[in-house]
C-alpha cells in the first residue's frame, strides 16, 4: 500500500508547459499539481497527447524553444527547481535526481563498451578517480542483478531489456534520491519488460524514490504505489494504485481500464473518438466529447478537482457536489 505519511520530496504546483508555433499556442501541460513522497513509486499514466513526457521535461527544465514553462512551481525538497541557476541545477541532476529519458536504451554509444560509457558518465558528474569510478560501475551493475560480464560488452551484443537495465544502473550509480523514468518499457517484449520491472523493484528496495511515466497500464499495476492519470494536459485522477484499479472514479480512467487486454477479458471496449489537440482543447471538461456520462455542465465549465478522501482526487463534475473542492 502507498506511503501516505512519507515526507514529500518533489512538489509540483500548477505546472504549465506551452509551445508556440505558427499555428498557435500548444498548451501541452496545462496546470498539473502533484507530489512525490520519499520511498514510493509514483506512476504517471496517460496516453499519447496527454502531456506526460513534456511534464517530466518541464520538471527537469529540459524544455527548449519553441517550448517554454508558462507557469507553476517545482520544488525539490525546498529548492525551487525552476529558478535555480544552471550550475546548481546540474549538480542536482544525476546526483540527487536522475533521469532515464524515452528511448535511452538506444542512445548508448555503439563504438564504446559498457564499462567505458559507464565510467565516462560517472566522471562527468563527480570528481572521482577512474579507479573509483570502475568500482562504482561494477557495484551498480551487480546491485541490479546484472552479471559483471556486461561491462565488457558492446551495446549491440545486449538485448533491449539488458540495455535498458544498464541505463538504469548508470542512472542509479550516484545513488540519487529520486529517479524519473520516461516510458522505460516501450518496444520491449515480455521477458525484457519483466526484467525492467524487477530492476525497478530492486531500486525501490534500496530506498530510491521512483517516478515512472508510461502508457502501459499493466506496467503500472505491477510497480506503482500511487498514481496520477493525465488527460489533455491535466491530471484527472490521483490515488493509491490498488484503489484506482479496483474503483476508478473518472470516466476516462474507467474506460481506460476497460481497454486493457488481459487474460479472461471477454469484451474490451476502446474509448470512442480521438484524443484532442493541445492547440484546441475542448471547452469545459476536456473529456466531455468522449465521455459516456457527459452532462450539460461538462460542456460549459471546467470541473474542479475534488478530494473524495485523503489522497484520492478526481477532476470531474460527477463528484463535485460531494466532499471538499480543492481547486479549479
Amino acid at each position: 500500500m502507498s506511503n501516505m505519511s512519507g515526507e514529500i520530496i518533489l512538489n509540483v504546483e500548477n505546472l504549465k508547459v506551452y509551445y508556440r508555433s505558427i499555428y498557435g499556442l500548444y498548451r501541452v501541460v496545462d496546470g498539473v499539481s502533484f507530489n512525490v513522497r520519499k520511498g514510493e513509486v509514483l506512476s504517471i499514466a496517460g496516453e499519447s497527447g496527454s502531456g506526460k513526457s513534456t511534464m517530466v521535461e518541464g520538471i527537469l527544465r529540459l524544455i527548449r524553444p519553441p517550448g517554454y514553462i508558462a507557469g507553476g512551481k517545482v520544488y525539490y525538497r525546498n529548492i525551487d527547481l525552476l529558478s535555480l541557476p544552471e550550475d546548481d541545477l546540474r549538480r542536482i541532476r544525476w546526483v540527487k535526481i536522475s533521469y532515464v529519458p524515452q528511448g535511452s536504451m538506444n542512445s548508448l554509444n555503439p563504438v564504446l563498451n559498457i564499462r567505458e560509457q559507464f565510467i565516462d558518465a560517472i566522471l562527468d558528474h563527480t570528481t572521482m578517480t577512474e579507479e573509483e569510478a570502475v568500482k562504482l560501475a561494477l557495484e551498480s551493475i551487480t546491485a541490479l542483478g546484472l552479471p559483471p560480464e556486461v561491462l565488457r560488452m558492446y551495446p549491440h551484443q545486449l538485448s533491449g531489456g539488458m540495455r535498458q537495465r544498464v541505463i538504469i544502473a548508470m542512472a542509479s550509480a550516484l545513488k540519487p534520491e529520486l529517479m524519473i523514468a520516461d516510458e522505460p518499457v516501450t518496444a520491449l517484449d515480455i521477458a525484457m519488460v519483466r526484467s525492467v520491472i524487477e530492476t525497478f523493484k530492486l531500486l525501490r528496495e534500496k530506498g530510491v524514490t521512483l517516478m515512472v511515466v508510461s502508457h502501459d497500464m499493466a506496467f503500472h499495476a505491477e510497480l506503482g504505489d500511487r498514481m496520477v492519470i493525465l488527460y489533455a494536459g491535466q491530471i484527472v485522477e490521483t490515488g493509491d494504485v490498488y484503489e484506482v484499479y479496483s474503483e476508478p472514479l473518472h470516466p476516462y480512467t474507467k474506460l481506460l481500464l476497460q481497454s486493457i487486454p488481459r487474460i479472461g477479458a471477454k469484451e474490451l471496449k476502446g474509448i470512442p473518438g480521438i484524443a484532442p489537440s493541445p492547440l484546441n482543447w475542448p471547452p469545459g471538461c476536456r473529456f466531455h466529447p468522449r465521455c459516456p456520462f457527459a452532462m450539460d455542465i461538462c460542456r460549459r465549465e471546467e470541473p474542479p478537482e475534488v478530494e473524495v478522501k485523503p489522497g484520492r482526487r478526481v477532476k470531474c463534475w460527477l463528484y463535485a457536489e460531494k466532499a471538499g473542492v480543492i481547486s479549479k
Binding site: 538485448s159 499495476a221 487474460i263
Partner: protein, 325 residues
C-alpha cells in the same frame, strides 16, 4: 487448385547470411490454416522469427527451404502467374504506424491506391464514396483524417486507416505483424475488436503475430509459440494459457505483466528466471539440441544432444519437448 487448407506451411526454413555469419531465423516450421476463417496467433519474443514468418507468408521474402502454399498452390507460383489475386487475398497490417506511409504523400493515397490497384470501384466518385463509408464504419470521420500527411495524424489514427484499407480490399487472409504494439491502450482495444470482426463479420482468417499474450488471448482461436525459429508449442488459445505444456510457454505466462495490482508477486519470484535468461542470452543460440536448453528449468542431458520432435499430445495440442515423449 482446390485444397482443404488456406495456408499450408511445410518444413519452412529461412537462413539469413550477414557478412559470413548465418542466422537460422526459422527452422523446420510446419502448420496449416484451414479454409474456415480462424485467427491463429504467433507468439514469441524478439528474435523468434515471427516477423520473418509473416513476410514469407505475405510473399515478401522467399524461404530458404520448405514450401508455403496458399489454397494449394505455392506462393512462388502465385506471384509468377497471378500476383493480382494473391495480393488481393493476402494482405498485411504492419507494426509501425508511421513507417508504413510514404511521407511524400497524403494518407489518402494508401487507401486510393488499394482501391485502384485492386480494381474495387469503377470511377473516382465511387472510390471517394466507398472510402468515406468504410472510414465511418470504423468510427473515423473522413474530414478528420483525409487530406492529411502522415505526421499530422496520431499513431492510433494511422493504424486505424490501415484497418480501413483492409476493409476496402476484403482479403481472405490478413497477416498482422504486431499491429497494436505501438499504439495507445484505448486504440489497442478498438483495433483488436476490428481484427475480431475481420473473422466474424468478413470471413477472413488472421495470422496475428505478437509478443503481448493478453491481446492474442482476446482474438485468437489457436496459438503457436516460436522460440529461436522453432515451433515449440501449438494449441487452442485458452488451453495454451491455462495449461501451457512447454517450459518456454510456462515461462512466458509467468513473466507476463499483469494489469491487476492484487496479483503482484514478490521480487524473488522472478529473479532466478531472469538470471537464467540473461546467462542464456550471453551463451547465444545453441548449435545443437533443443533451442531452449539454456533457459529450461527441466533441462536433461539429452536436450543438449538432440532436437526434440514436435509431437501431438492431444487433439490440436502439439509440443516440442522431451518431457512429453
Amino acid at each position: 487448385m482446390n485444397s482443404d487448407s488456406l495456408i499450408e506451411v511445410t518444413n519452412l526454413s529461412k537462413v539469413f547470411t550477414e557478412r559470413g555469419r548465418s542466422i537460422n531465423a526459422l527452422t523446420d516450421v510446419s502448420f496449416k490454416l484451414p479454409m474456415e476463417p480462424m485467427v491463429l496467433a504467433i507468439l514469441g519474443e524478439s528474435g523468434a522469427g515471427k516477423s520473418t514468418l509473416a513476410r514469407i507468408v505475405l510473399g515478401l521474402t522467399e524461404p530458404t527451404s520448405g514450401d508455403v502454399k496458399y489454397k494449394g498452390i505455392s506462393i512462388r507460383e502465385w506471384l509468377k502467374r497471378d500476383s493480382f489475386t494473391f495480393r488481393r487475398e493476402v494482405q498485411p497490417i504492419f507494426q509501425d504506424p508511421y513507417a508504413v506511409y510514404n511521407p511524400s504523400y497524403r494518407v489518402d493515397r494508401v487507401l486510393e491506391l488499394a482501391v485502384k490497384k485492386f480494381k474495387i470501384t469503377k470511377d473516382r466518385r465511387e472510390t471517394r464514396e466507398l472510402i468515406n463509408n468504410v472510414l465511418r464504419s470504423i468510427g473515423l470521420r473522413p474530414e478528420d483524417v483525409l487530406g492529411r500527411y502522415p505526421h499530422q495524424l496520431s499513431g492510433g489514427e494511422r493504424q486505424r486507416l490501415l484497418i480501413a484499407r483492409i476493409l476496402l480490399i476484403k482479403p481472405k487472409l490478413v497477416v498482422a505483424d504486431e499491429p497494436v504494439s505501438m499504439v495507445d491502450v484505448s486504440v489497442k482495444a478498438t483495433i483488436l475488436n476490428h481484427l475480431r470482426e475481420l473473422k466474424d463479420k468478413y470471413g477472413a482468417s488472421v495470422l496475428y503475430i505478437t509478443h503481448e499474450i493478453p491481446t492474442a488471448y482476446y482474438i485468437a482461436d489457436e496459438a503457436m509459440v516460436l522460440f529461436y525459429g522453432y515451433v515449440v508449442e501449438r494449441a487452442p488459445m485458452g488451453e495454451l494459457v491455462e495449461k501451457p505444456l512447454h517450459p518456454y510457454t510456462q515461462e512466458l505466462t509467468k513473466l507476463m505483466p499483469n494489469p491487476d495490482p492484487n496479483s503482484r508477486k514478490s521480487l524473488n519470484e522472478y529473479l532466478a528466471t531472469l538470471d537464467k535468461i540473461a546467462k542464456a542470452a550471453e551463451a547465444g543460440r545453441p548449435s545443437k539440441g533443443c533451442p531452449y536448453q539454456n533457459r529450461c528449468p527441466f533441462v536433461m542431458p539429452k536436450c543438449r544432444e538432440n532436437l526434440p520432435p514436435l509431437i501431438q499430445v492431444n487433439d490440436k495440442h502439439y509440443v516440442r519437448c522431451f518431457l512429453y515423449t
